[in-house]
């Protein structure tokens, strides 16, 4: 160029523009994936519910982010006249996350080698009960565990499988 001490570099710029446009597509897909719950509870993110025979179900997000509180919704049916319910959370899950709050507050929490047993008082009417655990993970990675309902016949369990993004 006359007087301007600079090369035209058009080839570089063309490749650069292609790189930019590819990058925009990537950004768009990330945003879309986030919307659909890939990176944690999103706007439309379906929360994965685990239902065994139907007597116990746990609603939780499969993908979540660390240091970000989320809720586990545990639903189970109780028989008329039933005054107590015992919920068991295994130690693998307890180690992976920290329980911030339990609604309703348990009567007692018993510790043994396998995990924690929460004991809740029930009203006595038959129907579906909801217990909410507000939890948070302070480390990234995969956390697996089991939550079970203890009754006279034994324990009905469901498995949980979560991945926490850093």
């Amino acid at each position: 160029m006359d007087g301007l001490g600079m090369a035209d570099n058009l080839r570089f710029h063309h490749r650069n523009w292609i790189f930019e446009r590819v990058g925009w597509v990537v950004l768009g897909s990330i945003a879309l994936a986030a919307l659909f719950g890939l990176f944690g509870p999103g706007v439309l993110g379906p929360t994965l519910a685990v239902t065994p025979t139907g007597s116990l179900s746990v609603e939780y997000p499969h993908f979540a982010r660390m240091q970000s509180p989320l809720s586990l919704r545990i639903r189970f049916a109780s028989a008329p006249g039933q005054r107590h319910a015992r919920l068991r959370v295994d130690h693998r899950y307890i180690e992976g996350i920290s329980v911030e709050h339990v609604t309703p507050e348990p009567d007692s929490v018993q510790l043994d080698a396998g995990g924690l047993t929460y004991r809740f008082a029930l009203g006595g009417a038959a129907g579906e009960n909801l217990i909410t655990f507000r939890i948070e993970a302070d480390r990234p990675g995969r956390v697996r565990g089991r939550i079970g309902l203890i009754d006279a016949d034994g324990t009905t369990e469901v498995g949980l499988d979560q991945f926490f993004y850093p």
């Binding site: 160029m1 007087g3 301007l4 600079m6 035209d8 570099n9 570089f12 710029h13 650069n16 523009w17 790189f19 930019e20 990058g23 925009w24 990537v26 950004l27 240091q67 850093p166």
Partner: protein, 150 residues
């Protein structure tokens, strides 16, 4: 360990993001560019510190980021290819009074941006008075005016 990883990943991510968004986004020309920069700064601060607000953590983070900056500048010095890849190259957008439309469209710069720079830097009034306008690596537009009689 944690703070080093956070610092590294956020630094690299921002590097890539700003390459993808183009040269103009760093130019801070409009009020909105400035606001965007503020918001990004706030967001990254949260991501970098997490819930550790100790002085040690803050200082470690600063050490990490400065270290990365120094490291990167050394690498760029040794490899001109890397320098080009990371920083880009200037782009000629106006030649002898004629705006190069195709390039300006691709670089997402319009004539108003060029005229604004011309007024600010050289006190020019019209496009015809511009000999060369260059979109610099940092997003700014520089103007070389036509000498009298050219």
């Amino acid at each position: 360990m944690d703070i080093l990883m956070r610092g590294l990943s956020v630094y690299v991510f921002l590097l890539i993001i700003f390459r993808i968004s183009g040269q103009r986004s760093l130019g801070q020309v409009t009020t909105f560019d400035f606001v965007l920069l503020l918001i990004i700064a706030e967001t990254t601060q949260q991501a970098l510190l997490g819930d550790d607000f100790s002085v040690t953590n803050g200082l470690l983070l600063i050490v990490t980021l400065i270290g990365l900056d120094i490291g990167l500048s050394l690498l760029k010095q040794r490899s001109p290819n890397l320098d080009r890849l990371l920083e880009g190259l200037p782009l000629l957008i106006v030649e002898n009074g004629e705006p190069l439309g195709d390039r300006m469209a691709k670089a997402r710069v319009d004539e108003e941006d060029v005229m604004s720079a011309a007024r600010e830097l050289q006190g020019l009034e019209r496009m015809e008075q511009i000999k060369y306008a260059v979109l610099e690596r940092n997003g700014a537009i520089t103007i070389i005016k036509r000498a009298a009689g050219e």
